[in-house]
Symmetry: C2
DNA sequence: TCAATAGATTAGAATTATTCTAACTAAAGA
DNA sequence: TCTTTAGTTAGAATAATTCTAATCTATTGA
């Protein structure tokens, strides 16, 4: 519309896009850079039940959506998000790490043929008979992975 | 002792060392080569409760004991043993595969600080509330990994 | 608003785990 | 013993990930 520059320019400020992604970064104490915002949006926006991605998957997705981001940054970001408690790392597969946006207490179904990971809420699960936690140690996490194959 | 060669040489045959390792290879239908025998002996002999190794660990151990074996053969052998049902592959750690000689139904304590893996017999463990196996799929295995860190 | 600065991004090199290749060697069977 | 088949090997290749060092950018204090 306005092709002519205004005589007196109002202060140019970053638009107050308080997206969920942006808020998440702020809360985590991470500088909201373009690429972190883009990656956080891909990871979290519109995925109420969480998602599971590899670095390569997220990188390809970001590129397809036109984000200018390098693979190194995707790795950096996934690791930072994990450290910040925004993600958890899953190791189900020799060779590649998966990252999980679902931070709730849950376990996984892993379809070995397709590589698909499906969440299983821990709410309905009870594990009885685990040994006492060795002294000097504390439980960081209990992972249950049900490995499935095509029958 | 005998520095002089015998007049009539008896047929030189491989000594009939029917070790456990050798028997295991035969049963699995694997040719009992020097390196497979050496690796099987390291993996299985004198380890009634099983052991957990990486390729690199087993390679170093074999070398220390004077076995002439390459790292490629260690990888080949671990994969063959796994396919043959003599080992199972464990993935607990991003970056490296571990191989487990305990083929009984069991789970693991994983000490994240030291990398130690400790077995937990599945006999005393009950997991309730897992979802029904999706149709078209069957459960290949259920892995429970209790991840511990120094308190 | 702007310059200074701490922090982030990047391409490409480096590293690590693993597999592949293709030449060599050993086990099996006749 | 001979022939055949399978296994071993060094080194190259590949894949995932991290590192390096140069460049860029978000933040902040003036
Ligand atoms: Mn995968
Ligand atoms: Mn390890
Ligand atoms: Zn999940
Ligand atoms: Zn075990």
């Amino acid at each position: 519309m306005a092709k002519t520059a205004p005589k007196t320019r109002k202060t140019v400020r970053t638009p107050p896009v308080t997206t969920a992604a942006l808020a998440r970064l702020r809360d985590a104490g991470l500088r909201p850079t373009r690429q972190r915002i883009a990656l956080a949006a891909l990871l979290f926006d519109g995925h109420p039940y969480g998602r599971h991605v590899t670095a390569e998957m997220l990188f390809d997705e970001a590129r397809k959506r036109g984000a200018r981001v390098s693979l190194a940054t995707v790795y950096n970001t996934l690791n930072q998000f994990t450290e910040a408690g925004l993600l958890r790392e899953l190791v189900v597969d020799p060779g590649t790490s998966h990252f999980d946006t679902n931070m709730g207490d849950h376990h996984h179904l892993y379809f070995e043929d397709s590589g698909e990971l499906r969440d299983v809420d821990a709410g309905g699960i009870e594990i009885k008979g685990l040994p006492a936690t060795p002294r000097g140690a504390e439980v960081a996490r209990v992972d249950v992975i049900v490995r499935l194959r095509r029958r």
